[in-house]
Amino acid sequence: MMEYMTTTAHMSTGDRHRTGSPVVSFTNVSKSFGDVRAVSELDLQLRAGETVALLGPNGAGKSSTLDLLLGLRNPDAGRVEVFGTTPQQAIARGKVGAMLQSGGLMEDVKVRELVKLACDLHPRAYPVDQVLEHADLRDIADRMVNKLSGGQEQRVRFALATAGANELVVLDEPTTGMDVSARQAFWGVMRAQARAGRAILFATHYLEEADAIADRVIVLHRGRVIADGSAAEIKAKAGARRIVFDLDGYIGEGALRELPFLSSLEISGRTVRIQSHDADATVHALYGLGLYPRNLEVAGLGLEQAFIAITDAATAEEAAK
């Protein structure tokens, strides 16, 4: 527990976005389903204006965390507060808009009728036409909901989640089923919402989305936060940059292993692949060995690789206990 707290503190150099009182606050929250501990002593705070990505492998507790945040489930222990009240109250006041994977739609009604319903139910609703426009639903407003494609349904869900002036928007895998252009349009709207001061929390499988859109990334693993910071910080935490080069002649593996800041080494044929915590120092030492690396490439790890590295490390750590 303490270790995690210090990690978080260390990771928080990207604090520039975090101002004001917490929008969401999880205090020591746990939730089990039978023997499975979905959320374990989770502490989490979101602030106004933050765009936060929730990452984690399947079963990491993302959906359970969102359910708790939205009051669809109650925690076994700990406290969940949204805008200083219970999630249910915050939702009743129209402060939270949410788009869930599991959220179904009413059938036998037209898209416009359903969106109008969402607007009528929202205490600070936007005009129906504006909501339709933003969700790119104008062309299919008169279509029956049960006749839509998966991507169109997803846009309807998005419209329902943004029918009024929410202060927090929660999205669970929002772009699943959308094509590339719909996805871009979707994030365009979300960016505008973020600029207007909304907090946005989204769970995603698309790591490039987290990388490109979120100014804070939280990695969950078995119901715990194992990393929390900007995408760049997460990548740095995972260790590392990637160094790839070819060597002619004899490759002394032993010498390469002695390189400083090395976190992994892989040799296939003439090609050497290295992950290093400090690529500059490693490359410097490489030349120091008198080697002449050809086709040298130094690149940052993608968030995806970083993510895998972090979750693998967490799994190994747990196994060691």
């Binding site: 669809l72 109650n74 869930l100 739609l105 036998d108 969402a118 205490p123």
Partner: protein
Amino acid sequence: MNTLIKLEIQRTLRNKKFMFFSVLYPAGLYLLIAGGASSTELVKGTDLTLPLLMMVSMASFGAITAVLVGNSERIAKEREKGWVRQLRLTALPGRGYVTAKVASAAVVSLPSILVVFLIAALVKDVRFDAAWQWFALTGAIWAGSIVFAALGVAVGYLATGDAVRPITFIIYFGLSILGGLWMPITTFPKWLQDVAEWMPTHAYAALGQSIELGNGPEVKDVAVLVAYLVIFGGAAAWLYRKDTRKA
């Protein structure tokens, strides 16, 4: 809330199959059973002719179809598909969903009652001594349908998926036949009559039959209906809360 009720009514009216079964089917069944029957001869064991007796039975049957079958299947399906969950993320108060379902079912059940009355009056020349009897009859059958609306909500929260339709239909046909909606219970063997007398459907139809005779409703029938309303309503509320906790 009003938008939700309006939308629920609209989509039900759009559902042609459902409208057929709740509005036209009972009227058709009325013609089938009472169409050729005598308008003067009393049904054995009652003070009513078959056209009069069946008018109440079929109006009750139509109202039950509208509120029980419609609600149970819709609720079960919408729970499964996550629409109920989605609605919980709006500012709609918790019980709004069920309230809207019951309210819209009540609106749809009215035509089922009126169409049977209309057919009975036109085809079988059913008339009453006093005009109030028509209004009282409509009011009693309409108000009584709340008992079955509660049952529909309970079944909708009890069953899911493939199970909900057979469960609904067993209850629906079981109650309709046992309560004497399809044929007078006086045609049943004695032991079945004893069972039938305690069916909510029997008390429901008996309400209308007393009005047809120019009497007020019997205390026993009202008591039976109220008891069932408490049972069904309590079950619906309990199942609803259980579902909300785990949804």
